[in-house]
């Protein structure tokens, strides 16, 4: 795509060839009204407000592509008439009770009604019963719905749940005379609008999706509202605190909407979380899991003194990655000064994995990010339960398939109906645990440039291919010549006589043929179905950009070193660009900042994890700490971006910085360390207060800064080990969380109501004698736990999922380090 110049309302602007006129206009601060269009989704063409005149022809700006030298006029006399009529239509039967609507003040219907100056109504149609319905975490009021279908579009194109669709409204037809008297587009739009409302795809009464709430966020009116927010606050009352979500490594930009709790209580409370939905889509945890703050009345001096004593005594600090970069930096300087061991197993595994990867790639970090993954048309996901490990990675995968006509390939042992539901163009391959290594070899085999790939690997891969002759039945079309007798009139004699004529005919014929086919033993080992290659070839047609998302299963794989090297080879020798999902919120930051150790010493200080002395933002430790939504600081995201976050809620207790100050450091605020983050790892020396946190009109992400992908020394050796043909079999357990849960912080929130327990698929429960709610003992080689069974319809197959969001459950004890293990289950 090349840069072109188009002219909108006399203004010359630069844009990409093929960019929609609407996007081009928005990027250049030219206003074209539009309701139904979402920047990263395909055009819906429901509202028709974005009518413009391009080169003398009336087109919709949201789906008309820019061409070199195009001249666009955003409003002509006719367009103004159309738009005004469209807005009048939207106002037909729309209740005027803005006072009791949660959208009031940020309502696009209000805005555009004023913008178009609608002060009279010319149209009418008999209304139908449009009573409101409760869909669980979302509340739908069809009476307010203008059927712009933004909810349907985002659910399909961005989220991939396909949970919403348009359903018949059952209204009377429009009066016939409108067809003549009304402006053409307004009539067409009304005709469609009058026939539909929004309903659930499942046909059930309650919404059963991954509960991200994106539909309510994009709703321009008050038709879809988060149930928890209804009537609690008006839009204009809340102050918006720009922040970064602290639940997973996606580091989504969010804004906490805060105001006083009530008339009696002036403490700040978070009422909801908002996002710039044109540029970032949130998951349920980000949107609804906001009240995980650690409420502390005052500074507990005795606990603080005990903490200082503990720090003097300790030789190890054990922590999780739900901390800011600044805190990680503080831990590192404490290590430098006092020689503490820093223990964080999950970040250590990621760090080691990245180091192994760098040995071949020559860069400190993986090459791609999720933003770029949105724009490719073939995505592979390997080693991650993508929907719960990093929901944004799933959105990227889905978005690339829906909007770019892409396809996807999902490798994972855990069967996933959500991934299968993304559409026809995603192929799933459920291999056995430990076979990730073979998967990576398969990717190399399928996609790597064999000419450049080291010859040992080429030979090794070739050893799995055999030529086999098979007999196939094929139906071919054959031309045969038949002799038929026809009656014809003899021209000479004038009599009818029978003559023989040759006639050609094409008939299908079944033949058996011997063909030589290539058989790939890798596919066989992985258990791929027969027509895998056929389907893949179909899916690969017209694909030109490739991305691979690798996840945490790989980092803890017993053969992680080899996997990391294989990934680097894939990146180097195939068209695939790689993104790795950091295990937790700031695993990447921790991995880049801290020097981590493996073993704990004799006296451990735990930060957000159990230690001999525990600092905890969960409120269950010996000294309270602020949680992420009470802190200023930066978080390093999967997109290799250092994002600033702000304190939404006040905190009255001590923080890590106070401890560091008591131990001889001197910083008034922890954000003074932002500029000291290690530049050798790619951080940039910038003051916290200079870091922006917003999106530009053209979608440019102005948030913090991007890490430098620092070059590291290559080891020069590109050899990889042969894979081991081991795999886990039997009753398998997997350490993963349900969608919307990540850590004990998400578990603490009020709106995320997932139940703790042993997660089994409905399919598994049906085929076993366990029932939901049964108390079972799960025992593995490393440990055991007793918990109740939770039925989960977001997974299928036989693998049992043990979540980590409930620290009381202590699922980690059952796993050595790899996320899968074999276990036995018995009822207690």
């Amino acid at each position: 795509m090349s840069k072109i110049t188009i002219n909108i309302d006399g203004k010359e602007i630069q844009t990409q060839e093929g960019e929609y006129i609407l996007n081009a206009a928005r990027a250049n601060d030219i206003f074209i009204p539009a309701i139904c269009y979402l920047s990263r989704c395909s055009p819906t063409l429901a509202c028709r407000l974005c009518l413009v005149e391009a080169d003398g022809k009336q087109v919709y700006a949201c789906n008309a592509k820019s061409k070199e030298g195009m001249s666009v006029i955003t409003s002509t006399e006719n367009i103004i008439i159309e738009r005004r009529a469209i807005m009048e239509v939207y106002d037909v039967n729309h209740p005027l009770e803005c006072g009791v609507c949660d959208q009031s003040g940020e309502c696009e219907l209000q805005n555009y009604t004023l913008e178009m100056g609608v002060d009279k109504q010319h149209y009418a149609v008999k209304d139908v019963d449009r009573s409101d319905v409760d869909w669980g975490h979302i509340h739908y009021n069809p009476g307010l719905c203008i059927v712009c279908e933004r909810c349907v579009t985002t659910c399909k194109d961005m989220i991939g749940d396909n949970a919403l669709k348009t359903v018949p409204r059952g209204a009377d037809a429009l009066e016939a005379e409108y067809k003549e008297s009304m402006p053409k587009d307004a009539y067409a739009m009304w005709n469609k609008l009058n026939k539909s409302l929004i309903g659930l795809t499942s046909g059930e009464e309650m919404l059963d999706c991954t509960s991200c709430g994106e539909c309510a966020a994009v709703c321009p009116v008050g038709a879809l509202v988060d149930t928890h927010y209804i009537y609690t606050s008006n839009a204009w009352e809340c102050e918006q605190i720009p922040a970064t979500c602290g639940h997973c490594s996606a580091g989504c930009q969010i804004s906490y909407d805060v105001k006083h709790t009530s008339i009696d209580n002036t403490d700040t409370k978070i009422y909801r979380v908002m996002n710039e939905w044109n540029y970032v889509a949130l998951c349920g945890a980000g949107r609804y899991g906001f009240d995980y703050q650690n409420v502390v009345d005052k500074k507990d001096e005795s606990a603080f003194n005990a903490a200082i004593e503990a720090f003097k005594k300790a030789d190890t600090i054990k922590f999780t990655s739900t901390i800011t970069n600044e805190e990680a930096y503080l831990l590192q300087v404490l290590r430098d000064k006092f020689g503490y061991k820093l223990v964080n197993n999950e970040a250590k595994a990621f760090q080691t994995f990245l180091n192994y990867y760098s040995e071949i790639s020559g860069t400190k970090l993986y090459g791609y990010d999720l933003e770029a993954t949105h724009n490719v048309n073939f995505v592979i996901s390997v080693g991650t339960a993508i929907k719960s490990d990093n929901p944004n990675a799933r959105y990227a995968l889905n978005n690339s398939m829906t909007v770019n006509k892409g396809a996807g390939l999902y490798f994972h042992p855990l069967k996933d109906p959500v991934i299968e539901g993304l559409g026809k163009s995603i192929m799933t391959m459920y291999h056995a645990p430990l076979q990730e290594e073979i998967v990576l070899y398969l990717i190399l085999d399928l996609f790597a440039d064999k000419e450049k790939l080291p010859s040992e690997i080429v030979d090794y891969l070739a050893s799995f291919h055999t030529k086999k002759t098979i007999t196939v039945e094929e139906i071919i079309k054959e031309e045969i010549t038949e002799i038929v007798k026809v009656m014809k009139i003899n021209e000479e004699s004038g009599e009818e006589e029978e003559i023989e004529e040759e006639k050609k005919k094409i008939v299908p014929k079944k033949i058996t043929k011997e063909v030589e086919v290539d058989e790939n033993a890798l596919l066989e080992i992985l258990g791929a179905n027969e027509n895998f290659m056929e389907e893949l070839e179909k899916n690969l047609a017209k694909k030109d950009s490739f991305a691979l998302i690798a996840g945490p299963d790989l980092y803890t794989h017993p053969n992680a070193k080899n996997l990391a090297r294989l990934l680097a080879l894939i990146e180097k020798y195939s068209a695939f660009e790689i993104t790795m999902i950091p295990t937790l919120t700031n695993s990447l930051g921790v991995a880049l900042i801290c020097e981590l150790d493996d073993e704990v010493g004799s006296y451990t200080i735990g930060y957000n994890t159990k230690g001999d002395f525990t600092l905890s933002a969960l409120g269950d430790g010996d000294l309270d700490m602020p949680s992420i939504n009470q802190q200023e600081g930066t978080l390093t995201s999967i997109n290799k971006r250092v994002n600033p976050t702000n304190a939404a809620i006040g905190y009255n207790g001590y923080e890590l910085n106070d401890i560091a100050n008591a131990l001889g450091f001197n910083a008034e605020n922890v954000i003074e360390y932002t500029k000291m983050l290690p530049t050798k790892s790619g951080f940039i020396s910038k003051e916290f207060d200079t870091l922006p946190n917003h999106y530009e009109n053209d979608g440019t992400e102005c948030r913090g800064y991007l890490l430098d992908n620092v070059a590291v020394k290559k080891c020069g050796d590109e050899s990889v080990e042969k894979f081991k043909e081991t795999k886990l079999e039997g009753t398998l357990i997997y350490m993963a969380n349900p969608v919307r849960q990540f850590t004990p912080f998400t578990y603490k929130t009020t709106n995320l109501d997932e139940v703790s327990g042993v997660y089994m698929s409905e399919e598994f429960l049906a085929n076993s004698d366990f029932n939901e709610g049964d108390i079972v003992r799960v025992k593995s080689a490393s440990g055991e736990l007793v918990a109740n069974i939770v039925s989960d319809n977001k997974i299928s197959g036989d693998i049992i999922v043990l979540p980590t969001f409930d620290s009381k459950l202590n699922s980690e004890a059952l796993f050595s380090s790899y996320r899968f293990a074999t276990a036995s289950i018995e009822r207690v």
Partner: protein, 211 residues
């Protein structure tokens, strides 16, 4: 003045129109030069207006017929448009609270003295759980009553709200019309800004309905 005249007066608020009832008061220009100023001073000093005033005082003093209102024993009747302490009205039909909790009063309040708490009630309606006005900050500008779409919050005639502290709150229940007032049918409608003006029906643009 006759009622119709008043209506006409209020309905024709256009000052710029030639035929309007408004006229410019004839005031002589201020003198600009020294002589003008001198003659004006002389004119005013020798007019004896001072003595007129003194005479009135003396006369009333001798008469012992005092016109001053003996507050707090006596009180002047307050005009219906007077803006004193707020009231919350009820609906005539159902005695239900008129306030729907839209929060416009809270938004428009320029001294930021109104706060309102709402929630979703059991009947899926927006319920006002608490409402407070800090009368110590209120400047009685009347914006809240003017913006109220339901004619719920209004000003009343209760102006005796002196308090011994700066912060002085009035709560929802204190402002609501008591039920017995409703039963007696003596709830008084506010006539100030925000109230329905004459000829409102003629001004309303009607929405066509198909049924």
């Amino acid at each position: 003045m006759h009622n119709e005249n008043i209506e006409q007066h209020f309905n024709n608020r256009n000052v710029t129109e030639i035929n309007s009832d408004y006229f410019m008061v004839d005031i002589a220009d201020y003198p600009t030069d020294g002589w003008g100023k001198f003659t004006r001073t002389l004119r005013r000093a020798l007019r004896g207006e001072l003595f007129v005033g003194l005479w009135v005082v003396l006369r009333e003093m001798i008469r012992f017929d005092i016109h001053t209102i003996q507050y707090p024993l006596e009180k002047m009747p307050i005009g219906p448009r007077y803006r004193a302490v707020h009231e919350m009205k009820r609906l005539w039909e159902s005695d239900a609270e008129r306030c729907i909790g839209c929060g416009l009063c809270e938004k428009i309040c320029i001294s930021n003295c109104i706060r309102i708490d709402t929630r979703l009630d059991e009947e899926s309606r927006k319920e006002v759980t608490e409402y407070s006005i800090n009368l110590g900050r209120c400047i009685f500008c009347g914006y809240c009553a003017e913006v109220c779409p339901e004619l719920a919050i209004t000003h009343g005639g209760e102006y005796e709200n002196a308090s011994d502290q700066r912060e002085h709150f009035i709560m929802y229940q204190d402002m609501l019309t008591p039920f017995d007032t409703m039963k007696a049918g003596t709830q008084v409608e506010f006539e100030g800004f925000g109230a329905i003006t004459p000829h409102e029906d003629e001004r309303v643009k009607k929405t066509p309905l198909a049924y």
